[in-house]
């Protein structure tokens, strides 16, 4: 195509000189198509996309990603149903049929509710004890009283040790 550039130019100019408009247009078209198309710098697209991103024009995640995630989840669910259904049915059948399944499910549900209720009650009691202790300890007066009690206990213990030592020395004597 590049080699035809000169020929196209001369052909076009010849047609123009002779006033052959239709031929001139065809030849000029060939000439333009043989010309390299001007090219912008390689980062123009990146810069433009960055400006668009600042406008918030892009969704946080492309829709196709959600579609793929949902499709994959459905496919896995379907596969699991197909694979495990016969297995589940055979287990249920070997254990005594639908009654066993209902009894087991009801038992599991009752156990779960009971454990939840027990745990909730215990958690509530502990929470109340902890809350009360925290409220008491949170005042300066209580803290001072506790410190005084500890110091008094230490002093009493020391006096008691002194008395004990005095009594032992008098006994030895």
């Amino acid at each position: 195509m590049k080699r035809n550039l000169k020929r196209s130019t001369q052909g076009w100019l010849e047609h123009e000189r002779r006033g052959r408009d239709a031929e001139a247009e065809i030849e000029l078209g060939r000439l333009f198509r043989a010309l390299p198309m001007p090219k912008p710098s390689s980062d123009l697209a990146r810069r433009t996309l960055a400006r668009l991103a600042m406008d918030g024009r892009f969704a946080n995640r492309p829709h196709w990603a959600y579609r793929w995630a949902v499709s994959a989840a459905l496919a896995v669910s379907g596969l699991a149903t197909v694979v495990f259904s016969p297995l589940l049915i055979s287990i249920v059948g070997s254990r005594g049929g639908a009654n066993w399944l209902v009894d087991t499910a009801a038992g599991l549900l009752a156990t779960a509710v009971h454990r939840f209720a027990t745990g909730y009650t215990l958690w509530g009691t502990l929470a109340r004890v902890g809350g009360t202790a925290a409220e008491i300890l949170a005042t300066p007066q209580t803290l001072g009283l506790m410190l005084a009690t500890v110091l008094f206990g230490m002093a009493t213990f020391r006096v008691l040790l002194g008395l004990t030592a005095l009594e032992r020395s008098s006994n030895h004597a």
């Binding site: 195509m1 590049k2 130019t9 001369q10 010309l35 001007p38 996309l49």
Partner: protein, 200 residues
């Protein structure tokens, strides 16, 4: 409008960055090609190309998808560039200086086929450069209609839709542009008749 463009526009409207990117990659070169021939400054043409795409993408929801996307985009490029030309009153570039910018960016795209002989490569480059200079010497609206008609291969009706000119004016512009381009090339020594063989 092509199904591919239609799909990309729909996906772009739903926020797909990839769809915007594809539209940009597809049309940045044709848009830049039109604008740079009108303003004759590669840096300015890049700015106006970016402005064109930003305007187009920001008003994408108003785009009538029964139209050709390229025609709609080119009309935005046309309006953006004409607004700029009118604001700045771009001077006419002389044929000798057109494309001879300091960094040579004006004609930097005149690549030569790797299999061309040195003589062919020289002729090709000289001729392409002469054509670009001749194009740069035309009025911006003449250069634009030539590019739309002969590089983008648009019909007169499509060019009328892009430029907002009536059909008769489009035909007149193209005719006069052709004649001026031919005269410019002949005066540069590419005359097939009297001066044949005077250039390589």
């Amino acid at each position: 409008m092509s199904k591919r463009d239609n799909s990309r526009v729909t996906r772009a409207l739903s926020g797909s960055q990839e769809a915007y990117q594809r539209l940009l990659e597809e049309y940045q070169r044709p848009v830049f090609s039109i604008i740079v021939r009108m303003v004759r400054d590669a840096g300015l043409a890049e700015d106006l190309t970016q402005e064109t795409f930003l305007k187009a993408f920001r008003s994408l929801d108003s785009f009538d998808q029964s139209r050709k996307f390229s025609s709609w985009l080119f009309s935005i490029a046309h309006n953006t560039t004409i607004d700029h030309v009118r604001r700045k009153q771009l001077p006419t570039v002389s044929l000798d200086s057109a494309g001879d910018s300091e960094d040579g960016a004006g004609l930097a795209f005149l690549a030569v086929a790797p299999d061309a002989s040195p003589e062919e490569a020289l002729t090709h480059h000289d001729l392409a450069a002469a054509l670009e200079r001749a194009l740069a010497g035309l009025r911006p609206e003449y250069a634009e209609v030539l590019v739309l008609r002969f590089q983008q291969e648009m019909s007169y009706e499509e060019i009328s839709g892009v430029t907002g000119l009536v059909l008769g004016t489009v035909k007149t512009h193209i005719y006069r542009a052709r004649k001026e381009l031919a005269a410019a090339l002949e005066s540069a020594g590419w005359d097939p008749g009297a001066h044949a063989g005077s250039r390589r």
